[in-house]
Each structure stands twice: as structure tokens, then as C-alpha cells.
Amino acid sequence: MGKAITMRELAAADGQVVRLDPADFVPLPPPYDGAEGRPPLRSLTESQKQRLDDSLDGFTALRLPHPQNREEEDQLVRRFLEGVRRLLSADDNWTFLGPLMLRLDYCAKCQTCAEACPIYLASGRQEIYRPTFRSELLRRIIKKYVAPGGRIWSGFQGADVDLNWRTVARLGELAYRCTLCRRCAQVCPIGIGNALIAREIRKVFSQELGLAPPELHRLGTVQQLKIGSSTGMSPAALMDSIELMQEEVEEKTGMKFAWPVDREGADILLIHNAGEFLSWPENPEAFAIILEKAGISWTLSSELVGYDAVNYGVWYDDVQLARIALRHAEVARKLKVKKIVIGECGHAHKALTVVADRILGGELNVPRESCLTLLDHLVSSGRLRLDPQRNDFPVTLHDPCNIVRLMGIVEPQRRILRRIAPRFREMSPSGTRNYCCGGGSGFAIMDGLNFPDWRSGVAGRMKFKQILDAFAGELDASVPKYVCAPCSNCKGQLRGLLDYFDATRKCGIYYGGLVELIVNAMADLERPFITFDADLIPAVRA
């Protein structure tokens, strides 16, 4: 059971508020029921601690430097409050004002949401990770410091929180202890949930104070808009990478064909998460093979932003979200394609199809479709010759929150797996009730300092438990098992998670996308497309 802590204490505490102890974490099934299931969490070094504020729980996502003097402290508080006021303005926050007002006005404090939150549960019910903790903190700050007459009523309303730079810094960090998975919202009897508030807090930090995790902002959206991709890949590097992938396809399958790039008038513009080109090239390769075999008219783009579907703005900043969504749409418009198909990337699905839907007007409102829908159509229409026996190994499916709970794409990927993977089994719970992989809302790419330990040790723990449960009885390392995760960020998180628990070597658990399984089932390919070799798995932590 986590330490009971009040908001007053959170604001007042000198030094670190909570010290996580892996012994408190939710237990894992064998073979992780001992020390292997509780790897120690690294602390920041002394010099890092001197520079950066890690006083919430010993981790830092925002990497906020300690204010140097009273004036800097006051300025942080002043600007934070200014940002909170903007959240309540119809001009500055038309994007989410309505849903925010409802969340600020109506929480019954029934705590139903707590039992649904993978982070709260995995951490052994740490009070600070309770879904309502950060929401209530913001609510109380607004009640006391922003609402008219707030200070008079603050005691009655429970708004006993003191706003100082520590409260602000810790609230900022708390906004990055939620993966925005919205599992809590599903069970909320009022229909509100807590993710939106976490994201609104992130917006105050980014849009007003200019503070965001560097992986999301400086190396993320800013780099994507300037260089073309959040991976740092330029259009020229993309072309090199495509050339390499073409060669690899030929080597693996004997299929020699030029990938269409910037082909005007193609039916489909396929946009991948550019991380696939660098980390999992077999994924775009599999897409190319499928589309080519199915005779689809498609193209990739080599325009800035047009070859990277990611939109990190959806996690922390509405202006950046709008900028990137507009670029994606503009690229599609110029190529005169009939539709954009988004590759296996969950947040890109949600950002471009759902969240940015009410930003794109006129000819920029190019139709957008999920690759899972297209693949389901291709597989069920019989255009591909598939032999399920080629996938004769245990397979389970991870449901990316953004595609499933937040977009309602549930069955297409299952229909495919039921056809091509005879040993497919669901995780429990699954579908719209799934657990987040723990890498949601940007965590999967936030590799700085000791944050990955928190991400794998806490945020991904429920997912790891689900995976072990799904393969119970078959955890022998000699039986290769496949976690199908049709999302680049989820794959990034699974890569770290399996490495953190050394689960590939210990239990023979591998991960990959859906298209790789489809190609692996292709009856006319001589060699398997998927290879299982623990020695080939890069050691991420090293």
C-alpha cells in the first residue's frame, strides 16, 4: 500500500515526496515472483539531482531545473497561474474548454477510477498516482487561486493547497505519470476520467511556460517540423533507407520492385511512424510486400513531415498538434491521393483521424483510414494467399489504447489473427478494456535519465503481467512466443519492457507488428519472414 499523502504535504515537503519501493509493486506470476520481478529502480546521480527537480518520486520527465532564487520561484508560479487562466479561455483553449469545464465541475470522488488505473495498481496504490490526485490538485488550485472569491471558500471546498514553486513543479511531473490511456474514464460513473486534465496540465507547461520533455518538444515536434521527422531523419536519409529496405525485401522474398515515392494520383498515401524505418524496417517492408501483392495503388511521401505519421502534439500541445496535422493533410492534398492510410502507429491514428478532425477544413480534409481496416479488407477478400500453419507459434494481441479504446477499431486486427495465427489467444482484459503498454502519451520515447526504469518498472508492469498470463504454461524459452502490437510506440515500450525483465532470453517472448505476421503466413514465400533469435534482440539498456 502506497504512502498516504495529502496535497498540503505535497506542497510543503522538502526533498523527495515519495520513495518507490519495488517490494510494494503488484506481484508478477512465475518466473517473476521473486527478485527478478522487482529489478531495482535507478536514482538520479548527485549532480543530476543538483540540477533538476526530481522531488516528486525520484524521477523526472520534464527535467525542470531548480529555480535559482526567489524571483524565479515566483515567476514559475505566476506564469503557471497565467496558463491556468488561459485554459479557461474560449479563445486560447477552444480546443478542449468544454470537456475541461465538465471535468473541473463534476467529480464525485467515488474513486472508481483508481481501480482501473494500471499505474496506480502496479505501483502498489501510491497515493500520488491515484488518477484523481492530480486532477483534484488542479481543481483545488483553480478553486483557491483562480475562481472569484476562491480564498474565502477554499477551506470549505477542501482547497487547502498552497501554491508555491514546488507545488507547480510536482504537478507538472504528475502530469507525466499518466499515459493518457483513459481506462479510468471508461469506468467513471459521471463519464469524465482524468487523462484530459493531465493533458491540460501538460499544455499549461508547454504552451505557457515553454516546458515539455525534450523528447516530445525540442527533439519531437520541433524537429519533425524543421527536419521532417522526430527521428531526425531527413528526406535524403529516407530515400537511402528505402533503397536499403527494397534490397532487404528482395533478399528475404525474391520480390524485386521499386517502392512508389511521391507518386501523384495514387489511391493511397501510406504514412508510417518513421521510427519503423530505423528500428523495425521489417514493418514497412511487410507493408510494401502486402500492398504490392494485393495490387494496390499506393505511395509514400518524401516531403518534410509527410513520411513521419507521428504527432507528439497530441500528448502535450494543441498548437504543435495543429501544425503537424496540417502538414500531413497538405502533403496528401498535393499528391492528390484518394486517402491517407496510417501505418501501425496508435497515436498517429488518433491524432490525424480523430483529434485533428475538427482542425482540417476544405481540401485539407483528406479522408483518413486505419491500416488495420485496409489490411482486414485485403486479408478477408482473399487477395493474398495465406497459410496459417506458417504462424504455428503462440501469439497474443496487444490493443493499442489509441486505436482501440479511443477509436473503436477492435475487430479488424482480430479477424486477421483468427485467420493467420492458429495459436492466437487474447490477453485478459482485452479490446476496449485493455491495459496500456505503459509507453503511452510519449513515455515510450522518453529515454532520458532514469525515466525508463519508471516506465518499465511501474507504467508497463500490468501489461507485462498480462503478457505472462496470456502465455501461462508456455513460458519455456525454447518456445518462441509473439506479442503482436500494431503500434510503433507500443513496440518501443515492449522492447524496453522485455529487456528490463530479460523476458526474451528467459521466457522466449518476442514482439512485432501485425503485417509481419501476415507476410510470414504468405504461402508463396520460401523462407519465414519472422525469425526468432534472442541473440539478435538488441540490449536496449546497454
Binding site: 468544454g98 463534476y106 467515488c110 477542501g158 463519464g191 511556460l209 483529434v355 475538427r358 483510414e369
Partner: protein, 295 residues
């Protein structure tokens, strides 16, 4: 129509109550169009009880949307009348919260019947019995459920940690109201005839007839509660409509001229955020201008 002070006060309270709720509803419904934030399952998606959406269909924008109002209705009714979500996800809370809310529904029906009786004058026996039944059952359920909710809030550390004094006050207020009405019924007004007479006096041309202090007190307390309610989260019965229909189930895609106009208007709003990647010296830019910049 000559009203006593307490009758006049109660009438005023009802007016403030109605206005307060209306202001809330208008405030939410006039909030600017927001970006989509739906959550599945969305029950009006026809034929997809597992939580699927129209995005599962190839070329979804070319197909007519298959919506079923009955899906929404089923969830709404089971939420309103059974608190099905709480039953499913928080049984411990449901056990106390459901009787409490059911009691409030009964009391609401009772109050309506009281007004109907007051306006109609002589009562048919069935109306009389219904008033009595709903009133007593409602008050008892509110008291039992309310004590249960209070006990859980006080004893369960998970609930206690974030409960504010105002939450205890609200519960206490409702309990005090229910107990006052119950005791008045028991000791002074066993058929609610006096309460009905009080209500009738509001609509009658006749001069106000004095009622026992206990009846006036229960009425004034009720009036005070009605004035207070719209300004608290107890008005969640209004909010819940918006959280479900305007956010959680709002999956309407941006297709058609009406949306085009709304999008254009929204993008024309000025942006005041002052982070360096947004704000530059000079005139405030609109969302549309900012979105076209590369930062």
C-alpha cells in the same frame, strides 16, 4: 394570491433553482466546439456491441453511418435507473450510493405529486397513497443510503483522503433535510396534508393559512437546498448529459458544410499563449495563422 413569508421564500427558491440549472446547461451547451475526445464503446454504433466504430469500415466516409438511438437509450436508462456502471465497477459504493440516489428520485416524484395534489385540490385516493408511498420510501432510502455513503466516506481511507468539508456538508444537508421531513411526517403531518396545503397556498387566491412551524421549517430547508444545489457538483445530473453526449459519445466526423463553418470560426480565434514557440512580438495571431508556421 397572498403568500406567507415562507411560501414566498420557497417560490423564490424554486425559481433560483430552475435558473441555476438552466444557466449551467446553457454554459455547457454554448462552450465552443471542441476537438474530438470520444471513448469506446460508443453505444449508438449499430452492430458493434464490442466497442467498434465506423472506422472499422473501409472507406467509411463513403458509407451511410449506421447509428442506433436504442443503443444510447439502453445505456442511458440503465445508468439513470440502475447506476449500472457503478454496479459493474464499484459494487461497494453502489450498495450505499444506489439506495441514496433512488431515494432522491422517489423524493423528486413525491414533490411533483405534492405539487399536483396542491394544484388539483381534492385528491383521488390513489394519488394520496402514491404521494405517501413515494415520500416515505424516498426519505427512508435517502437516510439509509446517505448514512451509508457518509460512513464509507469517513471510514474508507481511499475515499476520505480526497473528500472535502463541502462534500460532508452536502451529504449532511441532504440527510438533515430527509430527517426533518421524516420527523415532521411522523409527529405533525402524517398524510402530508399540511405540506400539500402549504403548496396549494402558493397557487391559491385565498390568503395564506398558517401552518405549524415544523412544516414551514421543512419547506424553508428544502428551499435553501434547492438554491444551493445548482452551484455544487450535486448538479451532476445536468453535467452527465454533456459528459456523455457532448464528449464521450460525440463521434460525429467533420463532414459537411456545418462543420466546415465551425472549424473556420474556431481557427479564427486569437491565441494568447506566451511560450516562445507560440508567441512572437506583435499582434496576436489566430490559430489558423499559427498552425501554418513552422516552429
Amino acid at each position: 394570491m397572498i403568500l406567507s413569508v415562507s411560501q414566498g421564500f420557497c417560490l423564490l427558491c424554486v425559481v433560483v433553482f430552475a435558473l441555476g440549472l438552466a444557466v449551467r446547461a446553457v454554459r455547457y451547451s454554448r462552450a465552443p466546439m471542441h476537438l474530438r475526445w470520444e471513448l469506446y464503446p460508443v453505444p449508438h454504433e449499430a452492430g458493434k456491441p464490442y466497442g467498434g466504430s465506423y472506422y472499422e469500415e473501409p472507406d467509411w466516409w463513403k458509407r451511410p453511418r449506421k447509428r442506433t438511438f436504442s443503443g444510447d437509450l439502453k445505456v442511458m436508462l440503465s445508468e439513470i435507473f440502475l447506476h449500472a456502471g457503478l454496479w459493474q465497477h464499484n459494487r461497494k459504493m453502489w450498495v450505499v450510493s444506489y439506495p441514496f440516489h433512488l431515494g432522491i428520485y422517489f423524493v423528486a416524484v413525491f414533490l411533483v405529486l405534492l405539487v399536483v395534489g396542491g394544484v388539483a385540490g381534492d385528491l383521488a385516493l390513489v394519488l394520496h397513497n402514491l404521494t405517501l408511498g413515494f415520500g416515505l420510501a424516498g426519505m427512508l432510502l435517502v437516510i439509509v443510503g446517505g448514512v451509508g455513503v457518509l460512513a464509507r466516506r469517513l471510514t474508507d481511507p481511499d475515499l476520505r483522503s480526497l473528500t472535502a468539508p463541502a462534500d460532508y456538508f452536502n451529504l449532511g444537508f441532504i440527510l438533515a433535510l430527509a430527517v426533518t421531513w421524516f420527523v415532521t411526517w411522523l409527529c405533525v403531518d402524517p398524510s402530508f396534508a399540511l405540506a400539500r396545503g402549504f403548496v396549494r397556498g402558493v397557487f391559491d387566491a385565498a390568503p395564506a393559512t398558517p401552518v405549524p412551524h415544523a412544516v414551514a421549517a421543512e419547506m424553508v430547508l428544502l428551499g435553501l437546498f434547492l438554491v444551493y444545489l445548482p452551484f455544487t457538483h450535486m448538479s451532476h445530473f445536468i453535467g452527465k448529459w454533456f459528459t456523455y453526449h457532448h464528449v464521450r459519445w460525440d463521434d460525429s466526423p467533420n463532414l459537411g458544410a456545418a462543420y466546415e463553418r465551425k472549424v473556420a470560426a474556431a481557427l479564427n480565434r486569437p491565441v494568447g499563449w506566451s511560450a516562445p514557440h507560440i508567441s512572437k512580438p506583435g499582434k496576436k495571431k489566430t490559430w489558423a495563422e499559427l498552425a501554418r508556421e513552422v516552429e
